[in-house]
């Protein structure tokens, strides 16, 4: 079964003047892990190289993609789910203006321990 995704790779622009695009550094990925074209509902996912966190780069990527979802993809709803314990991710999402709609309990398994159920935060931004 086809599972459609739309991903963008995140590059850090070289500081050198007129540096070629090939010298930019790959540092992560941001995109839509689930797309519903009928409902115009898109779920966003992302990750960033640990060496580049804490610099506002993930926030910039999330904001850019959210903007693109609403203007280009005509989104009615953009959602982000993350483990309730992932405070780094939650901070980025909240700064990007997403509302915490609720906490879905026992919604997923811990990535590192498949016998442990974890709660997910459901964050969303909507087009009124």
């Amino acid at each position: 079964m086809l599972h459609e995704r739309l991903n963008f790779e995140i590059f850090l622009r070289s500081q050198r003047a007129r540096a070629p695009v090939s010298s930019d550094l790959f540092i992560g990925r941001v995109g839509f892990v689930s797309l519903n074209w009928t409902l115009r509902k898109f779920e966003m996912g992302y990750w960033l190289d640990s060496r580049f966190t804490g610099q506002g780069l993930m926030l910039e990527a999330v904001q850019t993609l959210t903007q693109m979802a609403f203007s280009t993809l005509k989104a009615r709803r953009v959602e982000i789910l993350c483990d309730v314990r992932n405070t780094g991710s939650r901070r980025v999402v909240e700064k990007a203006g997403f509302a915490l709609e609720g906490i879905l309990r026992n919604n997923a398994l811990d990535m590192q321990n498949q016998t442990l159920w974890v709660d997910d935060c459901m964050y969303a931004r909507v087009q009124p």
């Binding site: 009928t38 409902l39 509902k41 009615r76 709803r77 959602e79 709609e101 609720g102 906490i103 879905l104 309990r105 026992n106 919604n107 997923a108 398994l109 159920w117 459901m122 969303a124 909507v126 087009q127």
Partner: protein
């Protein structure tokens, strides 16, 4: 099943996407066969609600969107309009949810419904489900695909 759906057209049309073009007698039979197949393939658990007096079908209840690894089940149901308001669906939902936790080792049983579907919300609340979230613009109005609606997520967990 056909009679029950026909008798409940206004209420079913209001909240159920599948009821927008009510099934014919033949389509009801096809649906029953499809349900048997889904139960055998373990992609759904479906029960028919029958009256005690003469075993007439008055509704359906079951789980769909089952994730056996995550032990996550989505509760869905409908009831013949002539039998509403008597606590019958609450009784069925309570029994099925308990069954999920006791026999299917469920970790999460959840239900999604239009936030305006007061009757469905009451069933969930009476069965001890917590309202975890209201998802804005999560679905289209089943009667008007140009209108977006909010959906409530109710859940009980182990």
């Amino acid at each position: 099943m056909f009679d029950s759906i026909q008798a409940s057209k206004p209420e079913l049309e209001r909240w159920q996407a599948w009821a927008q073009s009510p099934p014919t007698l033949e389509e009801c039979e096809l649906e029953c066969r499809s349900e048997i197949a889904r139960i055998a393939a373990r992609t759904a658990v479906i029960y028919h609600l029958l009256t005690l007096e003469n075993a007439v079908l008055i509704g359906e209840i079951g789980f769909s969107v089952i994730d056996w690894t995550l032990r996550k089940f989505e509760l869905r149901f409908w009831l013949d309009s002539r039998f509403t308001g008597r606590g019958l669906m609450t009784e069925a939902a309570q029994a099925l949810t308990d069954f999920a936790f006791e026999s299917l080792e469920a970790r999460r049983v959840f239900m999604l419904c239009d936030s305006r579907n007061v009757a469905a919300r009451r069933v969930a609340e009476k069965c001890g489900f917590a309202l975890e979230a209201t998802l804005k613009n999560n679905a289209q109005d089943v009667q008007n695909s140009s209108a977006w609606v909010d959906e409530c997520v109710y859940a009980r967990v182990e």
